[in-house]
Amino acid sequence: MGLLARVAQQDRAAFQALYRQMAGRMFGVCQKLAAQPELAEEALQDAFVRIWHHAGEYHRERGTPLNWMLTIARYRTLDLIRARKVRRTAGDDQLENVADDSLSPLDASMQADGAAALQGCLEELSDTQRDSILLSYYRGLTHEELSVTLSTPIGTVKSWIRRGLQALKRCLER
């Protein structure tokens, strides 16, 4: 928080320190989403340029500084993926795995960590709800892409996500 406040006052040393602290976490997320190092690097660059200019807009309601910065990096990566229409091809390992019902779309440890992080609430969702939400979050798949990936009509996919998010909210607020 201290660093971000200093960055808002155009403190370059603080900015560099912030980069050293956070860039690894952010880059991990960008890479996961983009699955393309170049695009992930560009998104990370853009995110930090944005953070330099907008640090003053951060406030507590937006989460921890790390979460705020991760969100900026995620959105920027999604924008770039979609602007470039970069998409993993059907031959992508991950997507092949998804199509195969016997395999989880995400590696198991990550899914377990995610579930734990969300206070076990992901466990309460149906498999299809959970998978479509996690694929959106980690892989940036849109409704259309989910529909293709999961060989399911788009309306069904939409309702999985919608209901899944509703159930998640109910659980998180208990």
Partner: protein, 234 residues
């Protein structure tokens, strides 16, 4: 689309998740701009979903990412790495300038007296968004091949540096037009036939930061600070 609380709740969740895209995403961003309550709903979801990002393993970005960030934010004070030859300097400069939106192009409004039957003259401005006036105005005056560069809001480079002006050909190496001034004095440049032909074709000029007196090698060595496209005056 009506902004019912249910709809806001659903779209905010999908927005934070990343599932909204295209027109729907942009529409929702407008809602966010207009309403604190909508933004709060998005923040709620961003925070709730944030733990999912904790499960992603950390990955150290390559050093060049930080270098690129510095060059985008502080192009005047950060030295560019030595270029590797070819046109890579230009692309580095392009992304530096274009992506950072340091530069927007503007048509110069002042019309120079046009001579007869010599084809349209080129004209343009080097501008920077946070500076109200253009940094330099540049125009062919009187006849094609005679450029006049007039500093307006350009400020002297830091340290022992000069600005150098280049014609960027459609392909091939940039051609130096020499070191350019800041302050009150305009610079009159007579283009060589080669530079003139290159500029006719590409209409593109670049300004780089060089050691005092200009590039020692005849090719840009410092960061490309500005790239500007000239326009034809009818």
């Amino acid at each position: 689309m009506k902004r019912t609380p249910e709809r806001i709740e659903r779209l905010a969740a999908e927005y934070a998740l990343g599932a909204l895209q295209g027109g729907a995403r942009r529409r929702f961003e407008r809602w966010m701009m207009e309403s604190w309550a909508v933004r709060q709903e998005v923040w709620y979801w961003e925070n709730k979903l944030a733990p999912l990002a904790d499960a992603v393993p950390e990955e150290e970005p390559p050093q060049r990412v930080w270098t690129a960030i510095e060059r985008r934010l502080w192009p005047n004070t950060v030295e560019a790495p030595v270029r590797r030859g070819g046109l890579s300097w230009l692309w580095a400069g392009w992304s530096l300038v274009a992506t950072a939106a340091v530069l927007v192009l503007a048509v110069m409004l002042v019309r120079e007296p046009a001579p007869q039957a010599q084809g349209p003259l080129l004209s343009g401005a080097v501008v920077q968004p946070d500076v109200k006036d253009p940094l330099w105005l540049v125009a062919e005056t009187g006849e094609p091949g005679k450029l006049r560069l007039r500093p307006v809001a350009a400020t002297a480079p830091e340290g022992q540096h000069d600005y150098e002006l280049w014609v960027v050909p459609a392909d091939g190496n940039p051609l130096s037009l020499g070191v350019i001034p800041v302050g009150k004095d305009s610079l009159q440049i007579t283009l060589s036939p080669a530079a003139r032909a290159a500029l006719r074709a590409s209409k593109t000029l670049a300004i780089s930061l060089e050691p005092k007196g200009g590039s020692p090698s005849g090719a840009p060595t410092g960061p490309i600070l500005h790239i500007t496209k000239l326009h034809e005056l009818e």
